[in-house]
Symmetry: C2
Subunit: 315 residues, 2 copies
């Protein structure tokens, strides 16, 4: 048995996972950001204790605990650095955790945890080399080779979301211009829709009705729904989104050539509607035309991917 923890900007989730990667029990609490390392760990311990009590177990029955978070781990030192919604620098998470529980603790970036779970029990379970991209506020990318996470010599690699698609292009939150994330994240999708809607003086688009004329409420779900209904503006936005998303995916395939590329995150709920558009475009763009092609699939594990992947770190 393994415990997996997903330390997110808004919530902390923990789960009990068996050897086969099945999530048996899950608990969640709110995460009030700007906390200290000590407080994050206190919350994690409470969640784990809750699960153990519920199952009538003790920590000695757990093989290992894995913790996923939006940042870079140093697994030798047992420290974590994050610079997003959570801001900690070289925080000694493992040492702090071991004050409460005498158990092996593994640390990993959350996008890598999601990729590992899809590779072990999700959409890429039948192959050795896979890449999972998570389309959300940003673009997370996790690389798995031989069922293990690859993240470079300093654990800071697989940041393909910050690959350039347009030199000197749209500004990215990271500071660089023209990153893939600046075109294919959820905020980028919304930005393009709002831009076109603001120019739609006669309010011809059905999206105005869908958001009650409040453009701040436009989101990916609404844009895709309007597109499916035949809304011209929404279709234009989706076509451009698919164009840039395809270019970024083709870049990943050209370099890493995984057997399966998994698409997760909020936008992936559009399922086959998105997938079919993406596939035909990506297969046109990739360099290798004759060899067997990377399969492109929708993620299977949803919001639990992070917990399951974190738990699987110790397997």
């Amino acid at each position: 048995m393994y415990l997996g923890i997903d330390l997110g900007g808004t919530h902390i989730s923990a789960g009990l996972v068996n050897e086969e990667g099945k999530l048996l029990k899950k608990t969640v609490c709110k995460n009030l950001v700007d906390k200290s390392c000590e407080e994050y760990v206190k919350n994690m311990i409470a969640l784990c204790q809750n699960i153990l009590d519920d199952q009538g177990m003790t920590i000695s029955q757990i093989n290992s605990v894995g913790i996923g978070f939006p940042g870079t781990p140093d697994n030798e030192k047992g420290t974590v650095s994050c610079n997003s919604s959570i801001k900690i620098n070289n925080a000694p998470i493992r040492e702090e955790f071991n004050k409460y529980f005498d158990v092996k603790v593994y640390l990993e970036n959350d996008a890598n945890c999601a990729a590992l779970s899809e590779a072990v029990v999700g959409a890429a379970r039948d192959c050795e080399h896979s890449v999972t991209i998570t389309l959300g506020t940003g673009i997370g990318v996790g690389i798995v080779t031989n069922k293990k996470v690859y993240s470079g010599f300093n654990n800071a690699g697989s940041e393909a979301g910050h690959n350039i698609l347009v030199v000197d292009g749209e500004k990215c939150p990271c500071g660089r211009r023209g990153c893939w994330e600046a075109y294919s994240s959820a905020p980028a999708l919304k930005r393009e829709a709002v831009k076109l809607l603001e120019n739609d003086k006669n309010k011809t688009s059905c999206m105005f009705k869908m958001v009650n004329n409040d453009l701040s409420r436009v989101d990916g779900k609404i844009i895709f729904e309007a597109s499916k209904q035949g809304d011209v503006i929404a279709q234009k936005v989706v076509a451009q989104y698919v164009k840039y998303l395809s270019e970024g995916i083709a870049n990943i395939i050209n370099v890493l050539m995984p057997e399966v590329l998994v698409i997760g995150g909020g936008i992936s709920r559009q399922g086959d509607y998105l997938l079919e558009m993406l596939k035909s475009r990506v297969y046109e763009l990739i360099y290798t035309k004759n060899e067997p092609k990377t399969a492109i699939k929708i993620a299977e594990l949803g919001v639990d991917a992070g917990i399951i992947g974190a738990a699987m770190l110790g397997r």
Copy 2:
């Protein structure tokens, strides 16, 4: 002892390489393209026999033979597909080779061979994870992790030269628009220089003198030489070249985060002059600012990298 063969568009080279990756003896012959698989192999065999005779050896004293070529291998079937200066499809190179010599034969893409040699005995010999880019007519990229070539599930990966830098940008020989290769290959460097020189109506640039007013003779060496002499147009061309080259290198580092990134090929002969400009720009562009950084180095093995890497495939 190992034999390494580099099957190139203009020449075929073969060499005897010891366990430490030292090239002990080398022979070269011209390659008249548009030959059949049988004829390529006949030439390779002649080169190998020449080396064995010279050293008073027989093939039974050779552990294995490695063959590098500009294409994609299928190491299970022992076949090779190339679609560049050499055009063969599913050619049974290993079977053909074994008709003459009863020896283990390994097949690999030439950029991967160059990367392997730099990783074993060249600029990246002291690290586990490295990437070697070869700047020539195209951009070759080889990925080495744990001292082994990584090229994806179908051996067709590591084509980072065909990552997009500018969506809808310059046309690339591969058919896609805006590839890194379309901005950072030797022909791209020449294209930009000629464009500016054609607009230099008063022929202020010293490059006119250097090529005797024959713009078809402009090449990377001349452009960099003029830039070092303070020629304004050459400096502009070099600055733009470094800008795009840096964006492409930053993309590779963001995804793969090698410990060392090695730059080979003709342009790499510019050495420190190029390297210092690249480093300062790349380190500004990469996503990870705090963790230990990828070292950027000039390749050490020059034209022999392909032979040495091919020989090392069987080690």
